[in-house]
């Protein structure tokens, strides 16, 4: 199973600042191994962030997002103690969901 994400969510003024690191190869499918065989693509395609049942960000990614992806964004309407839930799904159907509690500002 995929490794947990590392999520930081904290208040900056009235906004929730979210920074997340995901553990993923983000393999492009263009690369060859030592035997000259193409290594199949393996990458996160969808990312979704929810807060209080509402989607606050959704993304579609291609193979050129860097390995072990990093994402940073901000949304309004959250408060300390609330949960932020982040999910990703990759092209092989692997998926991962993690939560973080919003820290005070």
């Amino acid at each position: 199973m995929a490794d947990p994400m590392r999520i930081r969510a904290s208040m900056t003024g009235d906004k929730v600042e979210v920074k997340v690191l995901m553990s993923h190869e983000m393999e492009t499918g263009l690369r060859k191994d030592a035997q000259g065989k193409i290594i199949p693509a393996h990458f996160i395609r969808n990312v979704s962030v929810t807060h209080g049942g509402k989607t606050v960000l959704s993304a579609q990614w291609g193979t050129s997002v860097s390995r072990n992806p990093f994402l940073h964004f901000r949304f309004k309407g959250g408060k300390p103690g609330d949960k932020v839930t982040i999910s990703w799904a990759d092209n092989r159907g692997e998926k991962r969901t993690d939560e973080a509690v919003i820290a005070g500002g």
Partner: protein, 280 residues
């Protein structure tokens, strides 16, 4: 290499050729390095390493929680900055990685060869092109453990032990090796790390014999290397420098590797550990 030349061509086509351009280059590279600091994937390795320390593994189905890294069994906080040091049970000076090999053998029942297998993430060898669409993934228990254990010394002063005669001998042997030139390129460690303020390509080279440079260099390993998408340890740093020196392969956790690390740790004494860092 192909990309190398291509790039030169591209830069040639787009950039003015002046000292100013060179200053701009250095400034922008510095800005690039700054922008990376925001999120360091080393954290992902640290999290795995902490879990692996506690996980029961090996023929003895035991965790590493009784491993003595020098401060007593199970004490991890602050252990990394006190290494390398002499260990009575092995009658040897050991750095973190060779000590972990010992613990994996004695506590978990792995053979030494098993414990040393796969010491570096990926193939260990950096991508031989600069093509970011390359990279070989393979996880390393050793690398994950190193990430977490080093992180437990973050901010602490580098203070390797120098009280045992074998520690001092390792330091002096390390100094000898640092100045040892050989191979088809006549290289030694000192070729790149003997003068202040030098660069290889655009990378700054620390002069390892002065505290300021040694502290910064030693204090930022282990580090997540964005060019390889992997976390790299101090043993890897030695192994990789030696490869580029055109020497034969430096064996993982060998006496020479530990002597070199002892020499560098002593030179970096008093600096703060800022690792795992994020690097080019």
């Amino acid at each position: 290499m192909r990309i190398h030349c291509l790039l030169a061509g591209m830069l040639a086509a787009t950039l003015p050729c002046s000292a100013l351009a060179q200053q701009d280059t250095l400034r922008e590279i510095e800005r690039y390095r700054q922008l990376l600091q925001d999120g360091n994937p080393a954290e992902l390795y640290e999290a795995r390493g902490e879990e692996l320390w506690k996980r029961e593994r090996g023929p003895k189905n035991a965790s590493l929680e009784r491993c003595d890294l020098g401060l007593g069994p199970g004490l991890v906080k602050g252990a990394y900055v006190r290494l390398p040091r002499y260990f009575a049970d092995t009658d040897r000076v050991q750095d973190l990685e060779s000590r972990l090999v010992t613990c994996m053998a004695t506590l978990q029942g792995f053979t030494t060869d098993e414990a040393k297998r796969n010491p570096f993430s990926g193939t260990g060898v950096p991508m031989l092109t600069t093509d970011p669409f390359s990279g070989v993934s393979q996880r390393s228990v050793m690398t994950d453990l190193v990430a977490w254990i080093a992180s437990e010394s973050r901010g602490m002063k580098i203070a390797p032990s120098m009280s045992h005669p074998k520690e001092r001998l390792a330091y002096q042997a390390g100094e000898n090796l640092f100045y040892y030139r050989a191979g088809p390129y006549d290289f030694g460690c000192v070729t790149c790390h003997g003068e202040e303020g030098k660069r290889i390509r655009l990378q700054n080279l620390p002069k390892m014999t002065i505290a300021k440079d040694a502290q910064r260099a030693f204090g930022t390993w282990p580090g997540y290397r964005v060019s390889e998408g992997e976390l790299r340890s101090m043993q890897w740093r030695m192994w990789e420098c030696v490869r580029q020196m055109r020497f034969p392969e430096l064996e993982f956790a060998s006496d020479a590797s530990i002597a070199l690390i002892t020499y560098l740790a002593k030179k970096a004494e008093g600096g703060a550990l800022d690792a795992p860092a994020i690097k080019r």
